[in-house]
Symmetry: C2
């Protein structure tokens, strides 16, 4: 029928996400995104609307990928649930610590910058947090069934606590907190989980 797109939408969104990620939303320039993707601005505007919508698409994709990553890390049989939980929490601490450019997580950065002014951003963030908490709760419940965490504890509440700890590690990482401190937080969080 007509001339087809010469670019891969997902790839463009990934590049755009990286730009927003490093500079923040307000400081990101559409010209830079166009240059980084190799597209003209017309194509960008034609495909995504305006800067805000481009961000929202990139932000949503990023959050979905994040949840998917957590799912891969935590899903599985009850038997290894506690170990998966432990590995995931330590991995987040280590990844945060080794993020040299301190850009942290786009979810945190975007939410901090925009959720107060853009309900769509707040809604995506809320959904993402809820999804992660759900995955944590399932994993905690698995560990309870496997006898690694006290069965009397409320898995949802423990998951909420762990979510807060993870987001806290993220936040502290942006201040260039030492890798040791971040790891200590993760280990302490695991240590205080009620054992059977």
């Amino acid at each position: 029928m007509a001339r087809p797109r010469s670019f891969d939408e997902d790839e463009v969104l990934r590049v755009a996400r990286d730009q927003f990620w490093t500079t923040g939303y307000a400081a990101a320039r559409v010209d830079d995104i166009a240059a980084a993707t190799g597209l003209g601005k017309g194509s960008l505007y034609g495909a995504f609307g305006d800067k805000r919508h481009l961000f929202l698409r990139a932000f949503d994709d990023h959050c979905a990928a994040l949840v998917e990553g957590v799912r891969r890390a935590l899903d599985g049989p009850d038997a290894g649930a506690y170990e998966r939980l432990r590995a995931h929490i330590l991995a987040v601490a280590d990844a945060t610590a080794s993020d040299v450019c301190l850009r942290g997580c786009l979810l945190a950065k975007g939410t901090a910058e925009l959720s107060g002014q853009d309900p769509a951003v707040a809604a995506t963030a809320r959904r993402t947090f809820a999804a992660i908490q759900g995955l944590l709760a399932s994993c905690v419940a698995g560990a309870q069934r496997a006898g690694e965490i006290d069965r009397d504890a409320d898995p949802d509440r423990l998951a909420g606590l762990l979510l807060a700890v993870l987001r806290g590690i993220e936040a502290l990482g942006k201040a260039d907190t030492s890798p040791d401190s971040l790891r200590a937080i993760a280990e302490t969080a695991l240590a205080v989980l009620p054992r059977p």
Copy 2:
């Protein structure tokens, strides 16, 4: 000698801080800050240099006030230490939940937006976090001496965990997490502290 300043520097910094707070650094306009303070831009630039330095001053002042607030909340005799800790953590959760405009804490917002690009911001954030952790550790140690927290636990590690939980609550609050959830996180964090 010469004409004296017609404005109070601290008051101007407070107003500027509020502007940065609501919109973020990049989106804040110097013209708006000038209008909000009632000053001409010449006075603003004469007194503070440029936008970045104005922000750094406001940010530093805010962080110092924050630490001072935590100190007031947590300092005191061993006897009431645990209760002060408990009250403070619940108060942070409630304050975060009732922040209707979701602007959160300027410390978190400024750090998220700028620490990757401005070492001065990262340094202030790191100092502030360390100070708060120190205050938490002292309070935990007091509660240990008062027999409310297990004496075998490392107060610094518990303080690190609590700091992460507090920052996590802050981060989740920006996504408009329900007041109940935030309070549940705070209560769970308190519940998992090791008792004697």
